[in-house]
Symmetry: C2
Subunit: 219 residues, 2 copies
DNA sequence: AACTTTATCAACACTGTGTCGAGAGAGTCA
DNA sequence: TGACTCTCTCGACACAGTGTTGATAAAGTT
């Protein structure tokens, strides 16, 4: 007996049907085609037919594997989001007690790297979020997780007297996390104005440190 | 002679054809219909037929007035953007020398108000920007203007010794302006996480002041 | 009255989505 | 072996939306 045949816990699937046997191959082909095409052009300019053709099947057959174009992208985003969540947790873990400042830079660098390495998917996620509630929900969870962790860090730093009081920690965290999202997105698209890719981290870290540890007075 | 008939300097028009005589009325009806429908649902769920019906004309007749749905929205955005630019200039003008800190709060408040009062249009602009180069360009100009002014303010404050040195003023300005855009957008949609509408200004002003005037050390 | 301009829309061509129903091929089992 | 059941495939269809064409009406001009 080859390997898994019944022992496949239904890949949960962002609304897509469970896969089986030889069909796995097709499914992978569709996902790979989608990732490839997203490197070339925006999601809105990719049709179901493009995905089907790229995977070597007809358009109706595509619908055997995924209920829509959005579902394909959602599956891809799901992976990115999982990877990003791991990056975040790991980064914040190594950032325990004491050297928070250096740890923060590391955390922002790792997270930035996670999205930059999948730039095309990140941009597709932003596009899909505009019109797809499921994509919105998925992204929302990433942001919530990130905000929750940052809030905890800020509160801990304030509690041990390392950071001065100020706006509610969660409010501060929301604004900072959203700043990162927008600044990174702009750097990826290269729109103008935007930060050069190699300036992003320095600028963001500086603002984070000042927002968390600084006051509004020059020293 | 009624009034203007030939003496109409062709309203430049975001790609739309010049209007005339009784057609002006229709054109206005289309724009008003668009604004009204945008209060109800996202741009992607509004069709050319919806706009035509709302203005009391057939779909082909719509194309006599505007070349596409996007052109209608672009015209609307153009007005918002012009109003926002005025807000910005005015706010920064009253913010001359000295009381920069209070002026900054006023400037952010005014700009926030300009977009909040046209929430539906602001959200449509964000949506259109994703897939329309002209909308991107238009938005880009607003951001550039804003960044240029903020850069000048930061440099002036540093020059007179009121603000400490730090990241290049323009880089700082880009990140701060983009933070505002994202935080305001999130507050408008009410996505989660997002700041409560009445917390937005306090939080943003605090971060701006710390980023510009503060250092990364608690006082 | 002939002519021009503005304004209107039915009918068409086209692109893209998603569904239906008729199979083909592979595996099961009686 | 032959009936049965899966998985997988796709031609043909129905639909929704965009944008164009060409015929025509109504109003203004000469």
């Amino acid at each position: 007996m080859p390997a898994a045949s019944k022992a496949k816990p239904a890949p949960v699937g962002r609304g897509r049907r469970a896969a089986r046997a030889s069909g796995d191959e097709r499914e992978r082909a569709i996902l790979e085609t989608a990732e490839r095409l997203l490197e070339e052009r925006p999601l809105s300019e990719i049709s179901v037919d493009d995905l089907a053709k790229g995977a070597g099947i007809s358009r109706p057959t595509f619908y055997f594997y995924f209920p829509s174009k959005d579902a394909v992208v959602l599956t891809i985003i799901d992976r990115l989001v999982t990877a990003a969540a791991d990056s975040r947790e790991e980064a914040l873990a190594t950032m325990a007690e004491g050297e928070l400042r250096a740890g923060l830079r590391q955390a922002l660098t790792d997270l930035y790297g996670a999205f930059r390495s999948r730039r095309a998917v990140t941009l597709a996620a932003a596009e899909l979020r505009m019109r797809n509630p499921e994509a919105r929900e998925l992204w929302s969870q990433v942001m919530e997780g990130w905000v929750a962790d940052v809030t905890a860090v800020i509160e801990a730093e304030r509690a041990r007297g390392a950071a001065p009081a100020g706006q509610p920690a969660r409010d501060l965290a929301i604004a900072l996390v959203q700043m990162n999202e927008r600044v990174q997105y702009a750097a990826f698209t290269g729109e103008s104005p935007s930060l050069d890719e190699d300036r992003v981290i320095d600028v963001l870290v500086d603002i984070w440190l000042r927002a968390i540890y600084g006051t509004a007075e020059p020293s």
